[in-house]
Amino acid sequence: MKTLESIEDTVRSVLRDVLGISRDRADAFGPETGLFGELPELDSMAVAGLLTEMEDRLGIMIDDDEIDADMLGTFGALVDFAGRKARK
């Protein structure tokens, strides 16, 4: 089973790779860092790629009805969501 730390690392690297943001910027993300609506790189075109890449790397399936503004709202919320899915 993946630990929450390794899931957080994976989510961070997905954000870095999909949105093309620097390692320094991604490493500075904390639980309260705003994502959807705050991070200019994360627009609606990027959301699909972000979620699909998370599925690939974590080996999870995300249903469309699980996708909402809350789970994409902050880095912490996205890691929590990924953690719940990956540890099921």
């Binding site: 690297s13 790779d17 999909v18 949105l19 093309g20 790189e41 994360l42 627009d43 609606s44 075109m45 990027a46 959301v47 699909a48 790629g49 972000l50 979620l51 699909t52 890449e53 690939d56 790397r57 080996g59 469309d64 996708i67």
Partner: protein, 218 residues
């Protein structure tokens, strides 16, 4: 750096690179937006092949890129027919497909099929549907900006890379799925801003060149 040029075929000009005398590779691009995101890296891949003495051709499937045919009238069979005719005209030794290009890479008389990060139609359609969901437009005629018939969407959704006699699959090391080889690199097809991965292009071109040589020798 080796220049890209347009090679005329019965289905229009095809972007090509490298010597036309030696072995040829037919490159089938990713589908839809993924093609734009990967285009620069695929061009670098073709240039590296040229430096290795291998020519390559990168056609646009009907309804994509600069094909000039509206996607709204395209069927999945059209893509298979187009690949078959390019194979007859360009006589490639191997077909190299990227991502969803592997859904249209079947053709007779090919020594081998090389695939990078091949993807199922179901996941490609799901990606488009998610993009539509996230952009919250009311336009139900379009799927992430693409006008496709419902029958074509369903045919794509059912499609998977065909199990063929001689296939080599290469994936990124971050990909959880099985592959003949895993390589370091970026999943450019998901990048919101188009980028390039020159190292990945080189690694892939060398892998393909070596494998095509093995296919030709046996």
């Amino acid at each position: 750096m080796t220049a890209l040029f347009a090679r005329p075929t019965s289905r229009g000009d095809v972007l090509s690179c490298g010597p036309q005398g030696g072995p040829q590779i037919l490159v089938i691009q990713p589908l839809f937006e993924e093609a734009n995101r990967c285009r620069r890296t695929i061009a670098l891949f073709m240039r590296t092949l040229a430096e290795l003495g291998i020519g390559s051709a990168l056609p646009d499937l009907s309804g994509t890129g600069e094909s000039g045919i509206p996607l709204s009238g395209v069927k999945l069979e059209d893509w298979h027919a187009a690949v078959t005719s390019w194979v007859e005209e360009l006589k490639p030794a191997v077909i190299a497909s990227f991502r969803g290009g592997a859904l249209a890479d079947t053709a007779q008389g090919i020594a081998g099929h090389w695939r990078f990060a091949p993807e199922t139609g179901a996941r490609i359609i799901r990606d488009l549907e998610r993009t539509r969901l996230a952009s919250a437009t009311e336009d139900t005629e379009l799927l992430a900006g693409h006008a496709m018939t419902p029958a074509f969407v369903e045919a794509l959704r059912q499609a998977s890379p065909a199990p063929l006699a001689r296939v080599r699959t290469v994936r990124l090391e971050t990909d959880a799925l099985d592959a003949d080889r895993k390589v370091a690199g970026t999943s450019l097809w998901r990048r919101a801003e188009p980028g390039e991965d020159a190292d990945l292009a080189k690694v892939l071109a060398c892998d393909l060149a070596e494998w095509a040589r093995q296919c030709a020798a046996s």
